[in-house]
């Protein structure tokens, strides 16, 4: 944790109220996000128990599994989830704009521009907390290799028709969520924690109710008091007033309320199965329906607070203006969505269980680039983030006190003006260290020349430094710098030691040409995953949990 965030937390602790960690919003919040609050069954390692899902905060769709050990009920749940989620995704798939993408021509091997479609907006899924994202991934993994009766008439437990497709989409969203700065799938806690510092630890910040209480406490309470209540307060029946935001449930709820309800449901089901005549069966059916209704009411009761909390959090986040560079990142999310849409439409198989060597390396490179882009963009968009970089010596803000024209020593001298800057910051500058400023939204570079007043490496003293920079680019081709490209005396400018853009990594071989050091092409002796076909369904047994 940086010292500035530590300080913000300590201030929150002293004041009892969360404080800002950002002055702008660093993530896209869609106008119409899909909120998903999932629950799992205790002790069943990820078996779904229920969910609230939808885009209308006043009318969530309630999905439940009355008996999580029953495969048919789980399949019904997943089919309903597909019904709730897929139309939402589909609605974005056909609203497109023309765009260009550079591709490698398969015949000539040259880079060419291709006319492609780009979805003008992308669907966004918000879950309450980080374990919710893991659960989306788990659901995706469990569904995408399922076979429907249509695909495989012999499969012992055919999945409902659209379930494998939902699995592929959830997998895609789960993977995208690992890309720093992406906004397709977000956790409300992560969003709030990015923008506010509470007076509790980051572990406690994973509790959505407590976190919101710090940021926007109800009534007269301080954030600290409200958070403490959200964590521990129980009603007379021993139930948490603010239940956990899932997917795990509170043991007191499982044992005291849920388990008896499920038992009643099981009993009613057995009785119905054993019923003989019509009137008797009707009555037993009514009991079963009632038992199921009870479970639905119970689950709704523990999910609704999290549902409302997510929307409450989104309200707070929407009050922050969006950072200038968020749009750029969202465009990459749109590409990601469009790309997966295209793969599904092209009939490509589901994502493999594990990435091959080249795909893994590519993903890692993409994420490292995205992380560097995000770090730079947040600092450029937000003075409070920049303050952290200034404190760590990676940026400085200063006033221009003098500009002296100078030229490079080449046959055609180019402008290389010397800019003197006065700053109170302590950047880690060494000989010819490169620094950058944002000029019309794009970086202009300069190099450090010398300090005018302070000795080398003296880090202790307070007070100002006067330093000289040499501008090195973006001044046009003429002998005189283009208008506006050189700072004026009196300008106050932020300089960074980190680059604003990121070069992409090197080109990696095609997966079919993986080298011998990495096992060779897939399917050869040295490569992994040769035993089972990559897309084979999972083994199924009587007692699967998902």
């Amino acid at each position: 944790m940086s010292l500035i965030s530590t300080l913000a937390r300590l201030e929150a602790m002293a004041s009892g109220q969360a404080g800002p960690l950002a002055t702008v919003r660093h993530r896209r919040i869609s106008d119409r996000p899909l909120v998903l609050v999932p629950l799992t069954t205790a002790g069943e390692a990820g078996a779904p128990l229920g969910a609230l899902v939808g885009t209308d905060r006043d009318a969530p769709r309630l999905l439940t599994v009355a008996q999580p050990r029953d495969r048919d009920l789980r399949f019904t749940f997943l089919a309903e989830l597909a019904e709730a989620v897929l139309p939402y995704l589909d609605a974005y798939a056909d609203v497109v704009e023309p765009a260009e993408r550079s591709e490698t021509d398969p015949e000539t091997g040259k880079r060419v521009k291709a006319e492609v479609e780009l979805c003008v907006d992308a669907p966004q899924i918000i879950v309450p907390s980080r374990p919710g994202i893991d659960f989306v991934r788990l659901l995706g993994r469990s569904m995408r290799f399922r076979r429907t009766a249509e695909e495989d008439p012999d499969t012992p437990y055919p999945a409902p028709p659209r379930v494998p497709l939902l699995g592929r989409w959830l997998t895609h969203y789960g993977e995208r969520a690992r890309v720093p700065g992406s906004s397709l799938l977000l956790a409300a806690t992560d969003l709030l924690n990015r923008h506010w510092a509470t007076g509790q630890s980051s572990l406690e910040d994973q509790h959505l109710g407590a976190l919101l209480a710090w940021i926007d406490p109800p009534g007269e309470l301080s954030g600290a008091e409200a958070a403490s209540r959200a964590e521990v307060e129980r009603d007379r029946g021993g139930q948490l007033v603010c239940p956990p935001a899932g997917p795990a449930t509170d043991p007191a709820f499982d044992n005291k309320l849920l388990a008896p309800a499920v038992e009643r449901y099981d009993r009613a089901r057995q009785e119905l199965a054993a019923a003989e005549d019509g009137p008797d069966a009707d009555e037993r059916l009514a009991r079963l329906t009632a038992a199921e209704r009870d479970i639905r009411a119970l689950l709704h009761g523990v999910m609704r607070p999290a549902w409302d909390a997510v929307w409450h959090g989104l309200d707070l986040l929407r009050e922050l203006p969006e950072g200038a560079r968020v749009e750029e990142r969202w465009t990459r999310d749109r590409w990601s969505f469009t790309g997966h849409r295209d793969r599904v439409r092209a009939g490509e198989p589901p994502q493999p269980r594990r990435d091959d060597a080249v795909t893994a390396a590519q993903k890692l490179a993409t994420r490292e680039t995205a992380q560097a882009q995000l770090d730079a963009a947040e600092a450029l968009d937000d003075p409070l983030v920049l303050a952290g970089r200034r404190l760590s010596g990676e940026a400085f803000v200063g006033e221009v006190t003098e500009v002296v024209m100078a030229y490079s020593e080449s046959k055609r001298p180019s402008p290389r003006p010397l800019v003197t800057v006065r700053t109170d910051d302590r950047p880690y500058l060494g000989e010819r260290t490169k620094v950058f400023r944002s000029l019309d939204g794009r970086p202009q570079s300069a190099e450090f020349v010398r300090y005018e007043n302070a000795p080398d490496g003296d880090d202790g003293e307070d007070g100002e430094r006067v330093l000289v920079l040499r501008l090195t680019d973006r001044m046009g081709r003429a002998k005189e710098p283009a208008p506006g490209s050189v700072p004026d005396k009196g300008d106050r400018i932020a300089w960074t030691l980190f680059e604003h853009d990121q070069r992409g990594g090197p080109k990696l071989p095609d997966p079919e040409e993986a080298p011998w050091t990495h096992g060779g092409p897939p399917g050869t002796a040295g490569a992994e995953g040769t035993a089972a076909p990559a897309h084979a369904p999972d083994p199924v047994t009587e007692e699967d949990f998902l």
């Binding site: 530590t6 002055t23 788990l138 922050l320 200038a324 963009a377 003075p383 200034r390 939204g441």
Partner: protein, 323 residues
């Protein structure tokens, strides 16, 4: 629960499936035993001493016999901080070559060959303690050797079929060995308590218990919340005393000798603190930079920015003339 049912399934049929997995994953000379070739000794006895003695005897007999044996829930003893602790691994397998292998059966799944790393780590540390306890027995058993690789058995993917992975616990062993030598002896801890202190819930009232707990210093970190039932008590104490640790261990890193919220904030705001102390200097710079950023943005949460107002790539004006 599912966990117990899974363990029973893994050990069913005299452990045939379990030993199959073990032979497959750990290799070795011996082919996996045929069904019926595995001896499963009865380990029941009276009291913990009786059961540990029975376990030691069974281990010796199995090792001498040169065959396969599966010890289901053996009981082992280990000296911890000067008092004996009894340990019960899920299973120990004795191989014909005299090697003993600890088997841990867990209910979390292995999906596509990987599992929750925190849970595997906990299982590895647990297994290391079993191996250390087994080494005591092996030291007195000719021909015996305890393996430093243990077998972790979990449900495969989303099924209840068992799958297994070998976990190399040499690191956990070396760490646990040293930790055991460094533990303060239980008697020393007890003698530091006020005379007559007891935590025995059957013998004292709620009030007595509370005052006994309060007599003990609390060392709190937020990680305690997921591991200990007394964590809320310790958290309250940490918060009352204004300890910065209440925010997490990592916050202390840059605060130096400042240990309370009040001390940090008053140093940051320039009221107290040695201005020559780098921690104090850094705090003051942090506070000034934070205040400057928030003031420039028009108070929290606000719009506009020192440098942030410019839009990327072409849109918006260059940043200058900032206040």
């Amino acid at each position: 629960m599912r966990g117990n049912a899974f363990e029973a399934k893994v050990k069913a049929d005299g452990g045939t499936e379990l030993l199959q997995l073990l032979a497959e994953r750990l290799g070795g000379e011996a082919p996996p035993p045929a069904p019926g070739e595995v001896s499963v000794p009865d380990l029941s006895a009276a009291g913990p001493e009786g059961r540990t003695a029975r376990t030691a005897l069974a281990l010796r007999e199995a090792t001498e016999s040169g065959g396969w044996a599966l010890l289901d829930h053996p009981l082992l003893a280990l000296d911890v901080a000067g008092s004996p602790a009894y340990l019960e691994p899920d299973a120990v397998v004795v191989r014909p070559d005299g090697r003993w292998t600890v088997v841990e059966i867990k209910s979390f799944p292995m999906i596509d060959g990987s599992a929750d790393a925190a849970k595997v780590g906990a299982a590895a540390r647990q297994a290391a303690v079993y191996v250390l306890a087994l080494e005591r027995v092996a030291g007195r058993t000719p021909g015996a050797e305890v393996g430093d690789r243990v077998l972790l058995v979990c449900p495969k993917d989303f099924s209840n079929l068992p799958t297994a992975s070998v976990v190399d616990i040499r690191k956990q062993l070396s760490v646990t060995r040293r930790q055991l030598t460094r533990l303060t002896r239980v008697e020393d801890i007890a003698s530091a308590l006020p005379e007559g202190t007891t935590f025995d819930v059957t013998r004292c009232s709620g009030a007595e218990l509370t005052s006994a707990v309060e007599a003990v210093p609390a060392a709190y970190a937020p990680e305690c919340l997921s591991a200990c039932e007394l964590s809320f008590h310790c958290r309250d104490r940490a918060r009352e005393s204004g300890a910065v640790e209440a925010l997490g261990r990592s916050v202390r890193g840059e605060l130096g000798a400042l240990t309370t919220v009040t001390a940090v904030l008053s140093a940051a705001h320039g009221d107290t603190g040695d201005p020559g102390d780098p921690a104090v200097m850094a705090l003051r710079r942090a506070a000034a930079l934070r205040a400057e950023a928030l003031a420039g943005s028009g108070a929290p949460p606000g719009a506009g920015a020192l440098v942030g107002a410019d839009a990327p790539a072409g849109a918006g004006a260059p940043e200058r003339g900032v206040g």
